[in-house]
Amino acid sequence: MGSEESVMETSRHEALGLSDDQVLEMYRTMLLARKIDERMWLLNRAGKIPFVISCQGQEATQVGAAFALDREKDWLCPYYRDLGMMLVFGQTAKDQMLSAFARAEEPNSAGRQMPGHYGDKRFRVISGSSPVTTQLLHAVGVALAGKMEKKDFVSLTSFGEGSSNQGDFHEGLNFAGVHNLPVIFMCENNKYAISVPIEKQLAGGSVAARGQGYGMPGISVDGNDPLEVYEAVRDAAARARKGEGPTLIEATAYRLVPHSSDDDDRTYREMGEVEEARKKDSLVQFKKYLEDVGILSTESGAELEREIGHIVDEATEYAEQAPYPDPSETYTHVYAE
């Protein structure tokens, strides 16, 4: 953790080898993710889009993790909340809005899938489905292929803490462990699976603790801290590239909004609990960090917000005007044509 001499003078991100520009970019991406997400809720409440599923509360985890990967060669099998990760890998605000409006131009599925069902060949993001945890095995398969082909990429797959109880989690970690594959399993623990809290979900209370049963490191990190997540994923990726096998990472944060636009979280959790969690919101905390280390000022912060507001506006306008797919598209691409 940083070299002895300069620990006190060096900022946390410098100790991690991250430049000021890089952490600013991280913050910017987190903020963009948040603003896109917030706008989607407004659009949904205005009846303009049928459905939203949020990243809110998990931006630090997603952005920190994706920043630690090689965006030119690593592979992703993300889950429906990973907006932050997708932005880091290359998708844009426009892509998100096109998806929210289910337009033909939408890059994940041309409007076939719900928003949040990412998949993008440009960025080596394998198309995901709704049944949870299935993508975990695909990441293992990609890692196996990489090992067979003697490539040095890693694959990263993410999933909720509820989803980590599915059988596919167990089979995937075991397979990756036996074959010592370059894969990173990242659990985004947001403390709820829809209405079900961890206590009713997760025997033993820790996803990370399950790593050792597969002979792999099981690492707990603060999911509200992008630098801590970055470090854990960076190290896991380095191990994987060296042929030292898979890692399980559990990043714990909190889901700040209802499960989806169809949910009403007041039926199962105290709003006081949500308020408490908002105090630890990574966007608040990381902003403060950047201010403290002098990278962000009140002015540059406000300017950033404005800029992002513009981007989101433009993306929304573009997407709203964009055409739907033609009905005949219903019948295409069942098999290779």
């Binding site: 049944p131 829809i194 009905p327 069942v334």
Partner: protein, 327 residues
């Protein structure tokens, strides 16, 4: 008789059966505190407590497998799959275990359990919140499959399912949940599993259907009456065991049969119904048996024009009936 919605009929049946029999309990994802993502188990947690309305971990195989174990012991579990699309991880438990328990133990052990699952589309649910799954289970002897279309049938059949000595897959069309309302008696009643019902009498064309498309058929029939086409509508209600007599009777009634379901055409249950008719009532037929069904694509897309294209509707059913009538 009070008029209630399709989903309220589910809730009432569960509540009354839990009151009637202490062995009945409910388990699934979000069925407790939240009352289910569709609110089908609303109020049950409050009335019966966390022990009888169990919020399970997010694990469908465990939901099914634990329900099997408990039912073999002698309980009456009613398991909810949050969406029928998510029953797949439990497929092994349902097909290899629940359906075969009685047979493989020579009638010694058996699984009196119900698996409820909302299925079907037309709710912007996209590929994985819209599927029909009946064809994936219809060829699994040992399992019963119930697919009601009206609140009356929902309540009566769910009660029968809970009291049944064998595993029952109880498929609820989620588009019907709040759309379809109907009269339901306040006193206890059941509808027998395995009996189809003529939902409308007619002479020219027979439509055989179930679930949401049954309502499309009724609507189409109503409108076609004005054109002078008289439509006979049979609601299968249960697909396994299948009411063969009712199907043959309904065939004989008009000599022209249209089978309608939302599930994909190829491999869909309509094939079984068609085969049954042509095997047993071939000489009563005045026209080829026709099927109208969802297209052979993996599932219903999200984007509204695509979803609309996939879904059947009264218009499409009308056209198909008219063609048969004119045959």
């Amino acid at each position: 008789m009070p008029v209630i919605s399709y989903i309220d009929a589910v809730t009432q049946a569960l509540q009354e059966e839990m009151q009637r029999d202490e062995k009945v309990f409910v388990l699934g994802e979000d069925v407790g505190v939240r009352g289910g993502v569709f609110r089908a188990t609303d109020g049950l947690y409050k009335e019966f407590g966390a022990e009888r309305v169990i919020d399970t971990p997010l694990t469908e195989s465990a939901i099914a497998g634990v329900a099997i174990g408990a039912s073999v012991y002698g309980m009456r579990p009613v398991a909810e799959m949050q969406f029928a699309d998510f029953i797949m991880p439990a497929y092994n438990q349902i097909v290899s275990e629940a359906a075969k328990m009685r047979y493989r133990s020579n009638n010694t052990w058996y699984c009196p359990l119900v698996i409820r699952a909302p299925y079907g589309g037309g709710v912007h649910g996209a590929l994985y919140h819209s599927q029909s799954v009946e064809k994936l289970f219809a060829g699994v002897p040992g399992l019963k499959i119930v697919m009601p279309s009206t609140p009356y049938d929902v309540k009566g059949l769910l009660k029968s399912a809970i009291r049944d000595e064998d595993p029952v897959l109880f498929l609820e069309h989620k588009r019907c949940y709040r759309l379809i309302k109907g009269e339901v008696p306040t006193e206890d009643y059941t509808v027998p599993i395995g009996e189809a019902e003529v939902k409308r009498e007619g002479d020219d064309v027979t439509v055989i259907s179930y679930g949401l498309t049954l309502h499309f058929a009724l609507k189409a029939a109503e409108e076609l009456e004005k054109e002078g086409i008289s439509v006979h509508v049979l609601d299968l209600r249960t697909i396994i065991p299948l009411d063969k007599e009712a199907i043959l009777e309904a065939t004989v009634k008009t000599g022209k049969v249209l089978i309608v379901h939302e599930d994909n055409l190829t491999g869909g249950f309509g094939g079984e119904v068609s085969a049954l008719i042509s095997e047993n009532a071939f000489f009563e037929l005045d026209a080829p048996i026709r099927r109208l069904a969802g297209p052979d694509v993996p599932a219903m897309p999200y984007s509204p024009p695509l979803e609309k294209e996939f879904m059947l509707n009264p218009e499409k059913v009308k056209t198909a009936i008219r063609e048969l009538a004119e045959f």
